[in-house]
Amino acid sequence: MFELIGVAPQALFGQLLLGLINGAFYAMLSLGLAVIFGLLNVINFTHGAQYMMGAFGAWMLLNYVGIPFWGALVLSPIIVAIIGMIIERTLLRRLYHLDHLYGLLLTFGLALILEGLFRRQYGSSGLPYDNPLPGGTNLGFMFLPNYRGFVVIASLVICLATWFVIERTKLGSYLRAATERPDLVQAFGIDVPRMITLTYGFGVGLAALAGVLAAPAYQVSPTMGSNLIIVVFAVVVIGGMGSIMGAIVTGFGLGVIEGLTKVFYPEASSTVIFVIMAIVLLIKPAGLFGTAK
């Protein structure tokens, strides 16, 4: 069968796996964007920089403090989330009564600052981060590097856990209620401003967690976030921000499509997601899982 389509199965499954890993990052980042947007009405342009900070956090914890990957997996997202919550309290909060676009502009400025600072300190080229799970498993039809398998499974678990918390728990129901009518939720005695801060922190932490997971898979570099965030924006436009599950499915799906494009038509692999976005805009402007607003 593989001879028929003229592609070696190793290459096909290898790219499929890479696509799944990319998709995992798309899913986690667009999930965080969607959660933040739902409550704050802010498109968090800093999301890419916060993903990059997560990766750098892991690198710094290892090289300056000696904390290995598994410790950084917990610590780095918490640190980045705290920085995020400080930003929300001091800067973002003042803009909620204004047009959404000001939030976008502010977070864009923050992204420039963060990227500039890290480029100033660490240069534009990437820093290596050792693979914490070397080796691999032979699955018969392909060779699976252990760490890559771990990334896919870990991110799936994280995404599904997020979905479960938001859609199936009491905390999540507060969150969804506050997304619809913050004033009413506040009237019921729930501290909405604190909820907003924590939600922003959660979304940012999710981005940083993706960054830590990305550190051993790619290189740690100051530009890793800005390159990714634009693709994630396209993913968000394709999926629409209406549903959590939609963000997860779209993220993974587009990662796989991108991986397949690398096998069959490599020239288009960097643009395929944008082309899909254009097609979706023509057919279903609200996005695949979105509701027209």
């Binding site: 959404h100 400025g109 992204a111 420039l112 100033r120 924006f233």
Partner: protein
Amino acid sequence: MTTSHIATSAGQDGYSPVRIIIALAVLAVLLVAPFGVYPVFLMKVMCFALFACAFNLLLGYVGLLSFGHAMFFGGASYICAHAVKVMGFSPELGILAGTAFAAVLGLVAGLLAIRRLGIYFAMVTLALAQMFFFFCLQAPFTGGEDGLQAVPRRPLFGVIDITSDLNLYYVVLAIFIIGFAIIYRTVHSPFGQVLKAIRENEARAVSLGYRVHQYKLMAFVLSAALVGLAGSTKAIVFQLASLTDVAWQMSGEVVLMTLVGGMGTIIGPVVGAAVIVTMQNYLASLGEWVLVIQGVIFVLAVSLFRRGIVGEIVAFIQKRKDAAAN
């Protein structure tokens, strides 16, 4: 974007004597400026000022924040450079070709982008521009990482020598004035009034019977074409078209210029462009700090002076007037 506080003061149509005198004074300064200031720097400012004004037509007067205008700026600059350098076009035809290309690209991108509103519009334009960036990176005629260098400055219309920076300065000045006049006329026309109505309340504009989508698309194409005019001119001035002009950072820079100068004001973007280009010139040696400083200006502008330099001045004058009237 809600900029009603600006609209009240900037919306007045004006050919009052004071304005005409100010305009003539500015023109006089611009005519003698190259004898005091390095002409290439002034030309750079004018190219970016036109870029920002055309961008502001969309952000300030229709309320559409495009994060992808670099594709028109850089795209036009590639087409103009290619037409002049490889195909042997004269500069005026090269600039026309670049502008026409930007208009067509604007039509395609606009048809897609105006299907979404607000932040989605920003994300769609950003994504489309990124797609165009990758296209330019891979397409053979753009010269990849090197760009198109040493674009010849052939005589304009076959007679005007533009190899000297001083001569070229007056050509660029003429182009800038034409572009600025088009924007000024558009903003102060009935068409411009409808655009402002859409910005203030799109639902009401629809209910009044305006075909909002067509108006938005026309504004988008006009903006893209004028940005293309600026980009093509820049290619002639610097004899260069490169990936810098199509990268997302360029889209961000024009947003910054407009924000700093004052969106929704007619000369705000000119002031913003002058400020940012000057800053970049002086701080060029600081390397990566430029990015940080630009980010800080973004944050400060959004947090503290959302009306921008010109917007704040206009608001201050208005306040004084109101106080005097009482």
